[in-house]
Subunit: 455 residues, 2 copies
Amino acid sequence: MQKPSLPKGTRDFGPIQMARRNFILNTIKDTFQLFGYQQIETPAMENLSTLTGKYGDEGDQLLFKILNSGDFLKKVNSEDIASGAAATLPKVAEKGLRYDLTVPFARFVVMNRNELTFPFKRFQIQPVWRADRPQKGRYREFYQCDADVVGTDSLVCEAEIILMIRNVFAKLGLSNYDIKVNNRKILTGISEAIGEAGKEGSLCVAIDKLDKIGWQKVKEELGERGFASHSVDKLEPLVQLKTDLKGKIAFLKDFLATSEVGLKGVSELEEMLDILDQMGANLEHVDFDIMLARGLSYYTGAIFEVKVNGVSIGSVSGGGRYDNLTGVFGLSGVSGVGFSFGVDRLYDVLEELDLFPEESLKGTTLLLTHFDQKGFRYALNVLNQFRNAGIKAEIYPDVVKAKKQFDFANKKGIPFVGICGDNEIMTETLALKNLETGNQENLKVEEVISLLKGN
Amino acid sequence: MQKPSLPKGTRDFGPIQMARRNFILNTIKDTFQLFGYQQIETPAMENLSTLTGKYGDEGDQLLFKILNSGDFLKKVNSEDIASGAAATLPKVAEKGLRYDLTVPFARFVVMNRNELTFPFKRFQIQPVWRADRPQKGRYREFYQCDADVVGTDSLVCEAEIILMIRNVFAKLGLSNYDIKVNNRKILTGISEAIGEAGKEGSLCVAIDKLDKIGWQKVKEELGERGFASHSVDKLEPLVQLKTDLKGKIAFLKDFLATSEVGLKGVSELEEMLDILDQMGANLEHVDFDIMLARGLSYYTGAIFEVKVNGVSIGSVSGGGRYDNLTGVFGLSGVSGVGFSFGVDRLYDVLEELDLFPEESLKGTTLLLTHFDQKGFRYALNVLNQFRNAGIKAEIYPDVVKAKKQFDFANKKGIPFVGICGDNEIMTETLALKNLETGNQENLKVEEVISLLKGN
């Protein structure tokens, strides 16, 4: 008899984990909808032609491919085998599993461009799959949770991303965190201003590591990447800059005076801040971080990254504006801005800070227990009244020892037990026991209903 | 430039479809939770050793297999290629996509048996994948929605399945449907009573077609399957039986007098009906169908099937009791009972009957529109007040012609538009237009909030 197991890097979610995840996901969903975002879903399987070439060579390696059904070898000959897996792949697999939610969304927009109403605000919460080496906190199947607006350049979208993040975090009970913001155009401007125009890609990759490896090592890496040392030196005042938001903007207007795109980045940032101001929103948690780069090269405007302070977990949310989401599928001119929440990381943060509210775990409110057939039948008789009143209630389905029934309630986290004994049958009551306090009192069914209704 | 497409048999769900699907799924979820069921999720990928051999040869063919990552050919040689796909498969694929929710649930129960509280009531709503030939109404990726209780023989579970189905259907607005019930033991008893003991498998397969091909053809098929014609003749009074529930039970007690298991089936049915009676529930929609077989051979007790009358769609829900869910994974003695809703079919039924409530489609309630920068800024200024009051509101993010903004509201199904013109700015009001009635009036923000709060 085989002993069952799970594939490496995958997980089951039991009842408690699901309740907690749903607490996070419902919170995020409510916020997205409050801001006018609409949910879509795309299939787990995409054609490999849709997926490959979108995530770099490494990404292509990490795609899970699905074996063609039926005789998957019918186009394969021994020469293919000899030339290796890469040459054989297209003959045995046409489909792959979704790697992220961005590429499927771009495909969706292109295929439905005539039916969609632009600006189109969509959110999407679905699992993605990556054939990464599994390790602590890194899974081969995990949920992504993305929101994007496409079809507008309005900086209202950027401002609202900040508002949505704060809205979600407030509802999750998180208060100590930073929303780092920057603008990719500022980074482009900086590379122009230091005399290394066009090298913002390398600049970003190196600067992205500033937090992790420090300025000295970043300098070395920039040297290795071909930056002249007098260019790198010019970065120094920026890296060392210690001033507030207004001070940073003033500094940059001067530093980027020769770079049109750089100044455009600063003015976009100022406009976003002005919109927040117009909306009556303060700048709490907002941190303008000139060195924030984010790895993804397709960002062209604002970029965001959120870190919760005082926990061991990396960034829990991030995003930015991109100029050309759908170009790769033949539809140009669709710009957008989006962000996502890292659900697994938020889960870990809330667990580390013990922030999951008890209500989020609430399943059944009331278990009806009994000592014998007579009590069992009495319990059956009153059960539906609770459910009709919207109270989550169940009966222990077998006539077994009371201890076993109470153990069941305790293990399942059911807070109230309604005992159906002879005395209760006679007086048409329930002995309602609060398992947390141990209090017990005899009440009519209607009294129990009004007591539990708030629970 | 490539033109993107979807893999055969898969679908995108746009905003309207998602809202409708969520209406169905949330209704089902609420009912499951009202009855004490807890949600779990299992990974999309399972080891092939978990999946193969569980769904028959045809099922094994229909499993989507995932190509091993990295050099998937490393164990393959030209001899393998010569021996064909079946021989090569184990060397190139270790994992497959979930084919249903039952086998992963059985695996979950076995792997977590020491942590779970029995009786364990779980529900699970996730997609499954089958490499079936796609056709109208049949997809390669579709959602299943299952609820099962394991670890108890109590017929309360069966009675509650009937209550849950009625609860869900009432909330979906469905009133013309039948819940067909039977008991597999009765079918076993019948095969004993007609002198064909042990042939209930063939009997079920043939009888399952009664609705589709009629009694005459079923008789022929039974003959082909080796049933003696005098045995088949004994079935005749059963097939022709026209009487009510009590009449059927009385008939069967007589017909099955020589079959212990058959009488057990009848008494289980009676006990289930008695429990419903104890619970104060009537038998509306319940139809005892002695000929109901359902194809799946693992049922051992009650069986259920639900059909909506007056629509072209087949059964929308079904289930039954099985004695040995987890035996195949080495854990015996775990009996259970479960049922599922066919989400795609329910969607089609509600669409055909035009039963999706308008509220289920409600996205954004209010769009703020404007004519110029001044109005745009005023709109930004009032926007957050609506969201803080929990009203789903958005601003058209660009300063464009009013017509374009109104078109946007209409296409997105937003019922109210708050116009921010010079007059409104001066009087600190909004011109609130109801797009359905065309009515328009000037109101203070607080007045608009209290008006829209119910929406």
